[in-house]
Subunit: 124 residues, 2 copies
């Protein structure tokens, strides 16, 4: 089984470069994208390339961490669009060729911690 | 280097069981907890055990996925407290004994997808 880490790194490098041909080459034909928290789903390589290609604006991605096994991986990215900064976390599954078959992702927002645990933490 | 996967599984099993002694055994003495999106930080094993032990309510955790390498791992959990369900994503780093040294975590919320991409997705 091919190492998924390289595929995930290529996936983000191609996104950042808007190189949609290279991006497509990281994906299995039947790739399934899901956003569990917005309940969005995109099926298949062509549709998923289009979903990414049409995301408008001068956005940039920077990979903060990749954790990978042969058949699954996770990336933590910093996504910026103008002054807006978001964290994106994507769970990848891969096939025996190291192509991406599944990409559930998460976009957590900042939040205020409960006052009830203020005595247990520092803030930074 | 000891496999972190087992440590992460023990960490969540001990949490679910409220077995704070077993929980402490998964942690390095100088473990650092950080919540990047609430800017909370907890330093050291004793303080981090207390931070978890004092989280009140009849909460439960179920591990959905673990992705692990020898020195780092990620878990995706389902956290329930009464009717409330949350997804928690934790990035672990480990030392040479397989003990947890760092635990940044994320708690993403549901969100409405932008209408601008409705033509590119299905909903579920």
């Amino acid at each position: 089984m091919t190492e998924l880490r390289k595929t995930v790194e290529a996936f983000w490098a191609a996104s950042e470069a808007r190189d949609w041909e290279a991006f497509a080459e990281t994906l299995a034909e039947d790739v399934l994208y899901e956003a569990p928290l917005s309940r969005e789903r995109v099926r298949g390589r062509e549709a998923y390339v289009r979903f990414n290609r049409e995301f408008s604006g001068d956005w940039h991605v920077r990979v903060e961490r990749v954790v990978a096994e042969p058949g699954q991986a996770v990336s933590w990215i910093r996504f910026t669009l103008g002054d807006e900064v978001n964290i994106g976390i994507s769970f990848f599954t891969g096939d025996e060729h190291g192509l991406i078959t599944g990409v559930p992702d998460f976009w957590p927002d900042p939040y205020e911690p409960p006052a009830s645990r203020a005595h247990l933490t520092e803030r930074f």
